[in-house]
Amino acid sequence: MKKKIKLALAQISSKREDKKENLRKIEEFIIKAKEQGVDLVIFPELSLTGYVLHDQVYELAEVVPGPSTKRIEELAKRTGMHIIFGMPELSEKTEATIFNTAVFIGPTGFIGKFRKMYLPTHSVFEEKRYFRPGYQIVAFNTAIGNIGLIICYDLFFPEVCRLTRLKGAELIVCISASPAIRKDYFEILTAARALENTVFLVYVNLSGVEEGLQFWGGSRLVSPTGDLMAKAKYDEEDLVICEVDYSDMRPAEAFIPTLRDLRPELFDELKRQSETL
């Protein structure tokens, strides 16, 4: 396994309901990243379709793996890179059950997927109206490290990152479609989740405007000590190349031993209390 990897934070704005155009843009960014020797390129939440879809999501969702992931697989094989992106996923067993999914593809094909666990349904968000929540925490052991996936609002629930870390993730990838009014929260939470788990955390947000929602970009890589290692522009499309050196984790863990100091019995109490909220 590589001890150092190069990431590309592909902060794109998607064209709503236009998978063909978005796949074209994804390919364009992948090729740019390849020119810089990148191992893993990451695209935002629902980057295949855009975020504000409403009822059109039923037309746009696809099974995973499926036609669009096949296109990305071809690109991954051709470039020898790993790719993560977001899309609405149609359940294989039903006709209209959809997940908000992060797809992980490597040079040898489909690696796995993560279905968003916490679906915001408040303020301008209406995800529970359309999506079924995911139930599986994931961390994939790959040639470029143990990589966990989460999506946007999952970041507000520390247990998601904590479980991902406990499953072995060294790098947590959070793909997002966050509008500007939430910017401050994500800037705090990305640092906090990395620090409290002594893990690398990469956050890749949409840019662009969809129905008055202005996605703020600001994608970033945060170190296991909570330091900002790389940051994309606010509001605009951007491609930021940065490096993860997994050997930084040992000194971070020794200095901030949150994993050593975990208290399992508190989680039982957490479960009890949250059931009676």
Binding site: R16, V52, V209, Q214
Partner: protein, 280 residues
Amino acid sequence: MKLTTSVLELDLSEVEKRIKRFIKEYVENAGAAGIVLGLSGGIDSATTAAISSLAIGGKGVIGLMLPEEETYSFKDIEDAKIVAKKFGLKTKICDITPVLEGFYKTIPIFDKADKLCKGNIKARTRMICLYYYANKLNKIVCGSSDKSETMMGYFTKWGDVAADISPLMDLYKTQVRALAKHIGIPTELAEKPSTPALWPNQFAETELGIKYETLDLILYGLERFMTTEEIAQQIGVKKPLIEKVKDRWLSTEHKRRLPLAPKIEYRTVGTDFRLPRHKY
């Protein structure tokens, strides 16, 4: 939460940036040749005209002045011209008096003593002129409504509120005034009393029965689910006034929505037909 004037303070540079981005992206995505807006000489339309010009360039913005005999104000026309000159937008004047007289003569039950019904004809006539320009010149209509007046239902249904976009609609009146000064609207104009110009000497604060400084704080509290008791306690205003504001806000929701249809079929327009507004 402490309900003081400071809660209405905004990062005005950030707000300016967000609104400009919103306008620019919308116009570009719509494939429109620019914006047409009603330029009354009041603070909301002056701010909308200015920020639209900053967003897409004054050459793409037409400020339509739509005076009529009964409420004609030389000062308003002059104020509108000052803003147009400063921000480089084009202006056109359409005197709507003959059209209004046509309506008055045409409607069999027309009652000239009914100021409100008559005034609404004026607002809707202005809307028709704006949409004519937009259709003819491939532009979009940019509305000037602010949040205070929109929440109060203080507008003419399908009249002054009718537009393709409303860049100021999430800003309370006092916030619009602050933004206006921030982007360079002269202070005298930014502080000018608001009027819908539906009849002579009509002033918004007199009609609403409350100063915008107080109204905005009440609306801010209601927006954040505060109770009328909490708001009354915090800002030192009697509860009946707050209840009156709340009642007016809730009873005018119909003015802010599409017409209600009975639920009969699978998906219903305006209810559960949830589609993106555009294909882009």
